[in-house]
Amino acid sequence: MLIYGLGLLAFSYLAGQLFGDFLGEMIGVQANVGGVGFAMLLLVLLHNYFQKKQWVKAQFDEGIGFWSNMYIPVIVAMSASQNALLAFNKGVLPIVAGTLIVIIGFALVPVISSIKTTHS
């Protein structure tokens, strides 16, 4: 059943975000710490467990797959509701700082990527 897959996704999302909010509160910040990451981890672990128990039957995965296919449309909606005007009418400082850090970040990607955890 499709709804069971969707239910598992919803459970993982809520549990992960709740834990992220809790973690944020515990270390005293007004933000979620790693909620999406914990939710992703939980989803993968639970899905593996469900598969072992042979609970993953026809259409189960489609309840999850639909949302990963909706990803780009949601991102389009997200970019359409950004405060894009603010980015360009606050003068030069935000443009300089915001662009400079991205250039530096791009340059660092290949450097840091060369670090690999080796098992030897």
Binding site: L9, G16, G28, V29, Q30, A31, N32, V33, V36, G37, A39, M40, L43, V44, D61, I64, G65, F66, W67, S68, M70, Y71, I72, P73, V74, I75, V76, A77, M78, S79, A80, S81, Q82, N83, A84, L85, L86, A87, F88, K90, G91, L93, P94, I95, V96, A97, G98, L100, I101, V102, G105, F106, L108, V109, P110, I112, S113, I115, K116, T117
Partner: protein, 251 residues
Amino acid sequence: MNIISFFEKNGMITSFLIIAIIMLIAEQISTRLLRKKIPGSAIAILLGLLLAYYGGMITGGEKGIADIPLFSGFKLVGGSMFRDFCIVSTALGVSFPVMIQAGKAGIISLILGLGVSFIVGICVGLAFGYHDAESLATIGAGTLTFIVGPVTGSALGASSDVIALSVATGVVKAIVVTVFTPLIASKIKLDNPHAAMVFGGLMGTTSGVAAGLAATDQKLVPYGALTATFYTGLGCLLCPSVFYLALKALM
């Protein structure tokens, strides 16, 4: 019958229709005009940003096109709940061995991403004539993400003007990452899960990383999101405390 309020009442469904039309237009531009040199998804995201700018100009609001009643459903569909839900759903495709192998590089990139962003923000702030530690730390925090900026600014008691600057800096960062990631990805070898995790940690802005990777290669999204999801939280932790105190000690 008021047709606008009809669409407003059915906001979420209306936005599905409008997004489908945007995707269709973007796909046509990509195949017919650009011979697939720029992927349709990248053009769709770009069109979204143009709409956001237009919406802000018309309404003067903060939510881009979503402030126009006809497009009000964008607030929900483009909000953080739908975004994070979709990101989590992509996790089924991730490979644990790859994630563990990239773990060390991911953590290093996260720490470096936080530190370097803060320092770059401070340097630019100094160049623009800010000299007090509170303003500089707020601008530095805004260079992390547009959430860390105002959180830090209000914690340190920075002026609302500086806080607005820090938000704008974070938004510029998200937009620049969105637009340029698909164009530069092959040059910085951003074509594998390992590099995507490093990229997420270095950039940190979830909106930018999510959109940039989506337009580059959808398979990379969960890896980038995995490190980026820790960035804003850690930034909110470090900027008003450790980073601010270090800055103050140096001045």
